[in-house]
Symmetry: C2
Subunit: 428 residues, 2 copies
């Protein structure tokens, strides 16, 4: 499909936060032009045959949000076991339910999550869950971009399986990629951690994991190894080729130095850290150390929504509370984390900004909603005032999957909901 | 208009949080039936002539949210002066801009705020701003319910003016009411505070004010009076007939005892307290003391959105962070604050629950959005996962003002936006 967007405001994110006016042209899955209309160029790239020409009416086109940490398949547990601390929530409610999951369950639960991502302008996720093949299938079937993260631990996924996923899911489809990873230090034996390090070495590949999410997690690791999780991973060689951590609420100064040295990313999960009372991540400190920060919703069982607008506000808001300073982690920094920072963490080099040659992962923000008015400062409006109601369109890989609150994913929503209710009733 | 809602799930909020299935019937501005269909009753109340019969399709009807503290007219300042601490923000950015406001400016800026309230399922606000006549006019013109709060201080509104507003705006229209109030201790001299106390005495009327929003505010009051704002107001007789405080982040134990004794309400403003780095209110402690808590967005200049879903999540989330306990201030308590608690604070005795005889201030929550699925727990879904996208309808006083993302307020939205941009450009 060749699609022309005209009368657009465009936040390319290329030169940070300036907004230009003009057009965005899409050929297949790729952006071929961004900016003022240019008839000479139109001729040169043979783009006069449009399948669709969309009047953006002064609304905003920008790169889609990257949900840099989630467990999509957990939609079935939304609002099932709330108001519990992390350890009790995991061991008493979550793990027993997950033990009953089939591939088909995870396929359908993931589809439900993807529909929610689309309503929130999320064009790619960094997904960590069971049955990676089913997850990729779900994403590919609806046209969504998914980067999966290894979820190895002592109870599921062997190192051989992870290697197999790594090789297969990085090659099988342009919407699919895979990054090495493991669940967390507290669920993974030293032997297995060493295997992860060897695999990272073998492929010179980055590794991601839950890292320092709670105080108890860090204390447990200190007891077991007399060092923090970050220091342990570093010494084992796990972070030799980059990667990063999810949550990272309790990093100490030495940890932060390791993150800096290894160019690791921190994926912050404010909604989940808030709801599970885990704490507030030191985002301003990370920025001061020039560490790449990305934003993730975490799974729907702990958040419970998959909404980047809420995460963005929480990321700036909680930092302000933590530092007792309204000027820290301003909205524009947060918008960068939610787009470019996420793409960087997830290895999506072609999906970060709006520019000719990049993949067409684009959203349209409705500036004609009351919460965006007046247009004093559009980027601050998005972070401080934005909501799912502002997502007018979500395009992934050149295809419009969501537009004016309607889905174009080859599936009927009511049928998805019915299937999820049915499958869920067997499990919980 | 006589309107029949059928095939509904109904959260009446009457017996706290049980959800029933059935119908809601509206005659004029009043609810005449809630529950199972009842043909005998239909005949008795002469309700067979429906102007509209609405198939709710299993979605949820519930009482509209009450935005229990806001400054609607400040929409013109949204995203204008962000990332500043409260004192600097107020004195350098806000007060100078406000000095230039006309009645017509405030009328139009208020209309913009009301449109946003409707998108968030808010059916009434507790508004504190300049030019109360213009605010009432705006609300009445679009059909919105507004309770105004006196905003007396040393720079605007005399005690005579406030009395005049009190008498007029409580009588002029069924959508309008007025509660005595003043801006804050730090902007109001002792003499004026004493005048407020006399007026409260004269009408045996409750009084509201900004109370203990920041640490600096309380410290300043301690220096001036050697007591906290709450203790000062209590001693002056301001709280003799009830009322309450906005924000209330820094209440000490003695303050809380006064709130309990005088049956005062706390209106919490989590979004604003977060964004201005003011701190986290002691909500769990207030609940322990059986103090009525309501929720407000505060004004769009400090929040910057007018979104009860964000406020509800923040109210529970910040409490969990503050108490380091995921079980405190659970979602259902928050839902109560956002509806019944607000109505109680605002004196809206007939707008709190869905029940025959109550005013028809009703919203429809779209449960067919991905973020509400599966239906493990509907009320927790609303608080932990809800968004403006879930507001399918907002009815105020029996009239549907917003439905399926469209407005029915006798005004065109683009015209409102243009007018606001134009008026604003004169001021900032």
């Amino acid at each position: 499909m060749n699609i022309r967007f005209y009368n657009a405001r465009i936040l390319t994110m290329e030169d940070y936060l300036s907004i230009i006016e003009g057009e965005v042209w899409i050929k297949g899955n790729t952006i071929v032009h961004v900016g003022k209309i240019d008839f000479e160029k139109t001729k040169n790239i043979g783009m006069t045959d449009w399948h669709r020409e969309i009047d953006v009416k002064g609304n905003l086109l920008m790169p889609g949000f990257k949900n840099a940490h989630t467990h999509s398949g957990m939609t079935f547990l939304r609002s099932y076991a709330d108001d519990l601390p992390l350890a009790e929530w995991l061991t008493k409610q979550i793990f027993p339910a997950e033990a009953k999951l089939s591939k088909n369950d995870i396929y359908e639960f993931t589809i439900l999550a993807i529909t929610e991502y689309l309503t929130s302008g999320i064009t790619a996720n960094f997904d960590m869950y069971l049955e990676p093949n089913a997850i990729t299938q779900a994403a590919v079937d609806v046209g969504f971009r998914t980067v999966q993260c290894g979820s190895l631990n002592d109870f599921s996924q062997s190192i051989e399986q992870m290697e197999e996923y790594y090789l297969k899911l990085n090659e099988c489809h342009e919407l699919s990629s895979y990054i090495l990873g493991f669940h967390a230090e507290y669920t993974t034996s030293r032997k297995r951690l060493e295997q992860v390090a060897s695999l990272a070495e073998k492929y010179r590949a980055p590794v991601f994991t839950h890292n320092s999410e709670t105080k108890e997690e860090v204390e447990g690791c200190m007891e077991r190894y007399q060092k923090t999780p970050t220091k342990l991973f570093e010494e084992l060689g796990i972070y030799e080729y980059g990667g990063g951590g999810f949550h990272c609420v309790y990093l100490n100064d030495e940890d932060i130095e390791i993150f800096k040295k290894r160019k690791l990313s921190v994926v912050t999960n404010s909604g989940s850290n808030t709801k599970l009372a885990s704490g507030i991540a030191p985002i301003q400190k990370l920025i001061n150390h020039h560490i790449n920060v990305a934003i993730g919703t975490d799974g729907p069982a702990s958040n419970n929504c998959l909404d980047m607008f809420r995460e963005m506000f929480l990321t700036t808001g909680l930092a302000k509370i933590k530092e007792k300073d309204a000027s820290v982690v301003d909205a524009n920094q947060v918008l960068y984390m939610a787009t470019v920072g996420g793409a960087k963490a997830m290895g999506l080099k072609d999906c970060d900004v709006l520019k000719a040659g990049k993949k067409a992962d684009i959203i349209m923000i409705d500036l004609k909603q009351p919460n965006m008015q007046p247009l004093n400062n559009i980027t601050k409006n998005i972070v401080y005032s934005g909501s799912k109601i502002n997502v007018k369109m979500t395009m992934v890989n050149g295809k419009i999957l969501y537009e004016d609150f309607k889905f174009n994913i080859g599936r009927n929503l009511d049928e998805i909901y019915e299937k999820v209710e049915l499958l869920k009733s067997r499990i919980i």
